[in-house]
Symmetry: C2
Subunit: 199 residues, 2 copies
Amino acid sequence: MEKKIITISREFGSGGRSIGREVARILGFDFYDKELIEKVAQESGFDKKYIEDHGEDAPSKSLFAYAFIGRDQNGMSISDYIWQAQRKIILELAEKGNCVIVGRCSDYILRDRKDCLHVFIHADKEKRAERIVKLYGETDKMPKKRLDEKDKKRKVNYRYYTDRQWGASQNYHISLDSSEFGICKCVEIIVQLVKESRK
Amino acid sequence: MEKKIITISREFGSGGRSIGREVARILGFDFYDKELIEKVAQESGFDKKYIEDHGEDAPSKSLFAYAFIGRDQNGMSISDYIWQAQRKIILELAEKGNCVIVGRCSDYILRDRKDCLHVFIHADKEKRAERIVKLYGETDKMPKKRLDEKDKKRKVNYRYYTDRQWGASQNYHISLDSSEFGICKCVEIIVQLVKESRK
């Protein structure tokens, strides 16, 4: 079946976002990454920065927020509201089709659609550490510690909302090691699979 | 770096073995599946059938054997002996190069070699159930139960000897859903990656 939606899940620093952007450009698809965050902000009323920082984090990170607003009468936390808004928007975007969506459990949210290609991008830690320093600059924290923390948060968030294992091959149609093949080759493979799905 | 060894890990019924065989044929590589079992039998002195049935199983399945022989003075079980023999042979085969090795934790055993391409093949349960009935015939057990049991054993065996998660994308350079792309396309992608590694 023709693939009209590509979801890209990725390890932090693996280049998954760049791969998604390039795939979208070549195929003429819409690309949702920061754009998704803006839509979620509009939908949920929460601050963009907060969504960007915590929308893929472990729900426990919202404890600070609980102290101020607690859970509402439906027992929902801030994380739950963001999850709901993200889910609604991802389902709407999928209806429009011809798009690449990065992260935010989109592989799980769209798991029943046959017109989706679900991709996971990972890379070895050395290369990812180099990449995040190059892209986001240095901080007080060691790059490998930053990677571990970010990956752990994504893993716990994914597990909490999907009850699946983040990064398990079985969740994706294809998983690629970008440090082995390079960004360009990963893009090429994905584009080719989408084009061949049209035949 | 040129890839001279391909390891294929696979879900039961995903066609991973057929993919490996075809990749080996096209590239002119040796193919080790049943052949590996024969070598392990020679090395370990255990029966071929036993190794075939239990060499990728959970160590706990050897309890029956423990009842007869127990652990030796080194505290090693039958599973441990088979593991050791498999490991030794896989390392020897890798030294010779130009081969495809199916299963038996070969991705883990050869994880430090740069000339290996590590592949994981999976497929949806419906397709796998159809495939095992077609290939191995029906039994008293429902096909999906057979799949669950076999996958669980491989998972526990892998975890026990490698301390890694079986099927986690990060263990492999590429993971492919053969029910999505078909056996031929998986073969094509793998062959292309090996050929390109020579440039």
